[in-house]
Symmetry: C2
Subunit: 145 residues, 2 copies
């Protein structure tokens, strides 16, 4: 373990987050998500909730302020207005941990899969709640930050 | 780059530091050191001073408190009492950045090479000052740290 670093930031997850540049995206996905099939780089965090992992990731990763929305969830199939409880939790974690304010956007299921395929990395969590998936866009660290 | 992390902590260096456990050692070596020959894992940080890299490493890595000395330098050949200026700098950095107080020990040149061979990783810096080498032993993060 390391000083002042959330212990869920494993060697491989830290490596990916530090390798990513501005505009690169990372997806945290639930236990049902086809992670292996869609990943350019796969990091497994089985047994952990997506909410715990989101907290760890946002503790070090800046969110992009150059895009309209740096955080996306998957829309509920056939219920575009529904907001699963886990997505409300995602929003609270963003509010309390992220470096900048951001409102969680949403993307239709198959567009979400497509977006995940272009992500720098996927973190396969053990989240068992449905719709426990989120895509984050990396921002910049400015001189003096 | 990442929030609250020294940017000299590259993906590979972070990966190594986070992979190391209690008692594992890492060597930061100067530009003249036979790093490639002696490394189990080699991380290159050419162009950087060993002192800069030491500062970055100690900002996240706890030092071992279960050994007499968790930080060693190489003794000056034929002058065991000499303390090169860069080693005085190493000591100041430990004093100001490490999580625990530690007095820099020293090991004779060939014993130092041998010890480096058993290190988890070597960081080859671009340090051009002679004797710009240091071995650090990783400590523990206790619950609540």
């Amino acid at each position: 373990m390391l000083r002042n670093l959330n212990p869920l930031l494993t060697p491989d997850l830290l490596h990916a987050l530090r390798s990513m540049g501005h505009g690169d995206e990372i997806a945290l996905v639930d236990g049902n998500f086809p992670a292996e099939t869609n990943a350019q780089r796969l990091i497994r965090l089985d047994g952990l909730a997506a909410t715990e992992v989101l907290q760890a990731v946002l503790s070090v990763m800046p969110l992009d302020t150059y895009v309209a929305c740096p955080a996306f969830r998957m829309s509920v199939v056939n219920e575009p207005d529904a907001q699963p409880e886990i997505c409300t939790e995602f929003q609270s974690i963003i509010n309390s941990v992220a470096d900048v304010p951001a409102e969680l956007g949403q993307i239709e299921r198959f567009a979400f899969y497509e977006r995940v395929q272009s992500c720098f990395a996927i973190v396969a969590t053990g989240e068992n709640r449905l719709y426990g998936n989120i895509i984050l866009t990396k921002g910049v660290i400015k001189p003096g930050d």
